[in-house]
């Protein structure tokens, strides 16, 4: 059992995501930075899909009521056990009665805390992920609150020695200016050539509206090609006949502020989508904060698939390090 003394700003239970229900309008939810999520589970010997805590901007204070191994990954938010600093990206031992807390976030936006066995909450449509908009999944369908008691499950499959850690070259680094790679397409024909060019050549600033649903950006107005609107689309030039939105797709309602749709987003609607963030860069997006800058970079599908392979290569390397102890760094 883990007792929540202080929930932090927004701490939710997340796993791999609720996949396969998009057609009824159910977004996947799930950990936003999948790489860090996988790393945390790996370090405590959990199955790939075990549920962890996703911590946003400000960390919680948690009291453990049993001995258990944990691992903390993601953005840099220095953790402490009973007030003593402990490392991230490393298998840690917690004793019954220990209190885990966090310093202010230094880099990134989201941190993942895995406990050996995973967080045990009911499976809703094959997933433990929290989807707060509809109050589904996770701990009672909401972010954690003070006084909540979390059960630990049995989703672990291997013993990982305390002190096992991910080597530095496999730990993501963060920056205040970020390049996010996208594949142009969907309804990009709606933008003027000039606006398409501007979209890729200016720095966009992340607004305070940046959460699990999506990120909104400030920059400059984009323009749509003038046309007589097709039947059923609605009157604004940014409107199309309502269609499905890919996860990571970007739309520009009324041409004013681009919105990137993320894990808890709406699954469809009537705004022209212009491009889609490639799956690997959704992890990067999840670690970007309000007021940081983003530059969008166009890649084609072949480049996107190459990048995906490299990313999987890194995950395999990480798995080898942790599970095979090949080249993994061990502390005394």
């Amino acid at each position: 059992m883990i007792k929540v003394i202080n929930p932090g700003l927004q701490t939710t239970v997340q796993d791999h995501g609720r996949i396969g229900h998009y057609e009824v309008g159910m977004p996947p939810s799930g950990a936003m930075d999948k790489y860090s999520y996988l790393a945390s589970n790996l370090l405590v010997g959990n199955k790939d899909h075990a549920a962890v805590l996703e911590i946003t901007y400000m960390g919680p204070v948690l009291e453990f009521q049993q001995d258990v191994n944990v691992a903390i990954t993601g953005g840099e938010m220095p953790p402490k056990i009973n007030g003593q600093s402990v490392p991230m990206w490393e298998t840690l031992a917690i004793k019954a009665g220990d209190v885990l807390s966090f310093d202010f976030i230094k880099q990134g936006a989201r941190v993942y805390l895995a406990v050996a066995g995973g967080i045990d909450v009911p499976l809703i449509m094959e997933s433990r992920s929290t989807y707060t908009l509809c109050g589904i999944g996770g701990f009672e369908g909401r972010a954690l609150q003070a006084g909540d008691e979390l059960k630990i499950g049995g989703e672990n499959e291997s013993e990982i020695a305390v002190g096992t850690r991910i080597s530095d070259e496999l730990i993501p680094t963060f920056s205040k200016t970020n390049e996010i790679r996208v594949v142009l397409g969907l309804c990009s024909y709606r933008l003027t050539e000039e606006s398409k060019e501007r979209f890729f050549s200016i720095d966009w600033t992340v607004t305070p509206e940046a959460n699990r649903v999506g990120y909104r950006f400030k920059g400059e107005r984009l323009n749509f090609v003038e046309r007589e609107q097709p039947f059923g689309a609605g009157s604004n030039p940014s409107n199309v006949v309502d269609l499905g939105y890919p996860i990571g797709s970007i739309q520009v309602p009324d041409g004013v502020e681009p919105i990137a749709l993320l894990n808890d987003a709406v699954t469809g609607g009537g705004y022209a989508t212009i491009c889609t963030i490639i799956s690997t860069d959704l992890d990067k997006m999840a670690q970007i904060k309000t007021n940081e800058k983003v530059r969008f970079v166009a890649v084609d599908i072949h480049e996107a698939l190459e990048i995906r392979k490299e990313y999987q290569g890194k995950i395999n390397q990480m798995k080898q390090q942790v599970l095979g102890h090949k080249g993994g760094v061990k502390n005394g």
């Binding site: 996949i19 396969g20 229900h21 998009y22 057609e23 009824v24 309008g25 159910m26 908009l133 509809c134 109050g135 589904i136 369908g141 996208v182 594949v183 397409g185 969907l186 309804c187 097709p230 039947f231 059923g232 689309a233 609605g234 009157s235 604004n236 409107n239 199309v240 006949v241 309502d242 269609l243 499905g244 890919p246 996860i247 990571g248 797709s249 309602p253 009324d254 709406v266 699954t267 469809g268 609607g269 009537g270 989508t273 889609t276 963030i277 490639i278 799956s279 599908i301 996107a304 698939l305 995906r308 999987q312």
Partner: protein
């Protein structure tokens, strides 16, 4: 001509037409149904939408270009003539001009095309109806095809089964509302919708549905198998009800006794496309028989 587009490395988006029509929607339905039956490895989600459809796939199992070739083949193979839809005709009771959506729409007048009228008055006028009562009659006279589900879990986009010249069209709000009550009945573009949960929204607000279309607790009979009620291909008849009937239905919902009036129907797209009026009448006769 259909457009095939990459949605990053995990989605393919296919736009069959830029404009909405019953025929295009049936085509999207037929292609996605055939694809679903084919059980192609690596497919994660198949999402039919109004005049388009979208696939989520695992590119480690199926290359996007291989998937696109497959979809192009399907587009050629699928024929609406042999396509049969088995669905439910459903009676959906709506309280028009209810106090809850009225309160919401009045609160956001500054975001509307016409701050001096209600949404119903505005859309009646822009569609050439003499009164809002005439608009309500047009909305409730003929049933709707559930042409897409999404936005949030269970929201049905509904397209009326009437000839094109009788279609009602409404703009969306100039700027979306930040609040829409649960079960609000709205209209935007050429689509009627019910908002399953409270939230943002940009459709014109006409009323409130008495019964839920999303129930996460899954207490009611109609929600035993799924938290969401509408299915693509369903035929919804929106029926105008009184406050008295509304309150009766609400108490049935509270008690857990409410069940939608539904009838199973089987039809071919041609039945609808050739004579929408005759099709609508036969559905209504069967529903209320």
């Amino acid at each position: 001509m259909a457009r095939y587009e990459y949605g990053g490395d995990e989605f393919i988006f296919v736009e069959l037409s830029e404009a909405m029509s019953l025929e295009t929607n049936f085509q999207a339905m037929a292609i996605t149904k055939t694809l679903r039956e084919g059980k192609l490895p690596g497919i994660l989600d198949i999402c039919p939408s109004n005049a388009s459809y979208m696939i989520r796939f695992n590119p480690d199992i199926i290359h996007p270009d291989e998937l696109i070739s497959k979809l192009k083949e399907l587009d050629q193979e699928v024929s609406l003539e042999n396509f049969e839809i088995t669905a439910r005709a459903v009676d959906v009771p709506i309280l028009f001009e209810d106090p809850w959506t009225h309160e919401a729409l009045m609160r956001f007048r500054d975001r509307h095309q016409d701050p001096t009228a209600t949404d119903l008055e505005y859309v009646a006028r822009t569609n050439g109806f003499q009164s809002k009562e005439e608009l309500i009659k047009a909305i409730t006279d003929s049933p709707y095809l559930v042409s897409m589900i999404g936005f949030v879990p269970g929201l049905p986009w509904c397209y009326q089964m009437v000839p094109n010249e009788q279609q009602i069209e409404a703009p969306k709000y100039v700027r979306p509302r930040t609040y829409t009550p649960e079960r609000a009945f709205g209209f935007g573009g050429a689509f009627a919708v019910i908002y399953p949960v409270q939230g943002a929204g940009g459709y014109q607000l006409f009323g409130t549905a008495a019964a839920p279309i999303f129930e996460k607790e899954q207490r009611l009979h109609d929600f035993k198998e799924s938290m969401t009620f509408p299915r693509q291909g369903d035929v919804f008849r929106y029926r105008s009800i009184s406050m008295e009937e509304y309150e009766e239905i609400r108490s049935e919902v509270e008690n857990g006794d409410f069940r939608y009036l539904t009838k199973e129907i089987t039809f071919k797209p041609q039945d609808v496309l050739e004579n929408p009026k005759a099709f609508s009448d036969s559905v209504l006769r069967r529903l209320y028989a």
